[in-house]
Structures are given as C-alpha cells and as structure tokens.
Symmetry: C2
C-alpha cells in the first residue's frame, strides 16, 4: 500500500490542473475533472480509491461521488485483480471516442432546432431566414461528415 502523502511533481500537478479546468468547462465538478486529469498521467494507469484520496487530498465521500459519476458517464471504468479486494479505476479510452460521437449528436440536435425554427417562422424577414437556412445546411454537413471521419479512422486502425 502506498503512502498517503505520495505527491506529484510540478509538471504533473500542472497537467492535472490544466485538464481539470478543461473538463470543468465541459461540465464536470472540480474533483471529477481532476480525477480524470490524474488518471491520464498516472503510472500505473489504474489507481485505487485510496490512492486517489491521498494524491488529490480529498475526502472519501467526495471521491466516492466523483468516481461513481465518472463511471456512470463512462469517462472511466474499473478493473480488479485476483487476490486484491480493491477496485482500480482507469480512463475509458473507448469513451474518448464516444466524446466525438456525442459531439456529432450536438450537430444533429442543432440542425434539428434550426429546422424547427424555420418551420415556425413566417417567410417575412427573408434575409434572416436565409441565414438560418445556411447555418442549418452547415450543421447538416457536419452531421453527415463526422461519422465518415470516424469510420475512416476506425478502418485504418484495424489495418495497423
């Protein structure tokens, strides 16, 4: 079992901080965001509940909530080892792919909202309606092209 006081070097600390800010902006709580940041650079890349409370200096309750919410969002997953009761947590690399999928669902939702707005609007203000229509088009293009980029990449990946 590692010492609770085990700490990170400056570069790692700054990295955790930076990823923390990034994912806070994306809607995670500060602690969840820092857990993700730390797990990206942790060695080994899986860390126990206990290690996380120690290295991030937060309460058990807070880590428990953070880990469970991250598990539920599939940012992380857990692994276990025979003869060790503890659960270890690591970032779910597949989910980082899913992030991209979420992002293209954003384009779809956006396109849909713009469709609906055009249905609602009269056809006065033609110029404004035209602008909305153009943007709708662009979101539609994204919606169509992004999956292609992903599946292209997936195909190349298999041929490694």
């Amino acid at each position: 079992m590692q010492a609770l006081s085990e700490s990170m070097n400056k570069r790692k600390q700054e990295f955790v901080e930076k990823v923390g800010v990034f994912f806070e902006e994306k809607g995670l709580t500060p602690i969840s965001a820092r857990v993700v940041g730390y797990l990206i650079i942790a060695e080994p890349h899986y860390q126990s509940f206990y290690q996380l409370t120690g290295i991030l200096q937060v309460s058990k309750g807070a880590i428990s909530n953070a880990l469970n919410s991250l598990l539920q969002k599939e940012y992380i997953q857990c692994v276990t080892f025979t003869g060790d009761r503890k659960r270890y947590f690591k970032v779910n690399t597949n989910t980082w792919l899913n992030f991209l999928k979420t992002r293209y669902s954003f384009f779809g939702e956006m396109r849909h909202l713009l469709d609906e707005s055009l249905e609602i609007r009269s056809n006065e203000q033609k110029e404004f309606n035209h602008d909305l229509g153009e943007i709708r088009e662009l979101y539609g293009v994204f919606e169509k092209e992004l999956p292609k980029i992903i599946s292209n990449w997936e195909r190349n990946r298999k041929n490694d």
Copy 2:
C-alpha cells in the same frame, strides 16, 4: 411600442423552452438561454430590451445581465435604427458559424492535452500509451478535417 403583455403561442413557447434547455446544457444561464431561443423565432428577428422583459417576464436587471453576457460571447449583436434610441438585439448568425470553430478548437485543445500526457508518461504501460496515442490521432484528424468542411461550405455559399 408593443404591449408588454404580448405573448407567444404554444408552439413558440415550447420552442423557447427547448432551445433554453439545450443552451443551458451548453453553459448559459436559464434567462440567457431563453433569450437566444426567443430571438431565433422572433418576428421581427430583432427585439428591444423592453420587449424581451415583457415577453419573457423577467426583470430589467436580469435581461440587462443576460444581454450583456450574450453580447460578450457574441451569441447576439445589437442593431439600431435612426430616430429610435432603443437598441435591438438579434442572434449573430456569424457566431453560429463560430460555434463550429469553437468546436474544432476543442479538438485542438484535446489533441494538445493528449500530446502533453504522452510526453509526461514513461514508456511503461505501452498498451495504454498506445490507446492514448490512437485517440490523439483521431482528434488530430478532426482538427485537420473540420476546417476543410467549413471552407468547402463557405466556397459553395459564395457561388449561390
């Protein structure tokens, strides 16, 4: 000057509500999000401070803050008319294009964070490092392809 009690029909109200939820998820406050929702379907597509307080039933202070924060984020812009002291607000269609640019800056930031994590990590845990590297690749591809999609669309647009 329009009556303060002017109200929306059900469909419009639901639309405002829906866009409201959507943009709240993206980090706007409820009132800001509803302002955006309303401006998308408002006729005319520009609306005054006073009209917004009336139709959305919120205080002047709240609208003032909402409008200023939306202006700063460039979700909206204001227009004026000669002989009318009031400022009118409308959604900034250019910014909806910028949203996409913001989104591809996301891919760049993400790619950058993954680069840095690979620098920090030792080359033990080769498999995990390999996974991170692959994801980094994909984000890199997005970072490169999205601008192409946008400029393609911009080219077609001019040729209308």
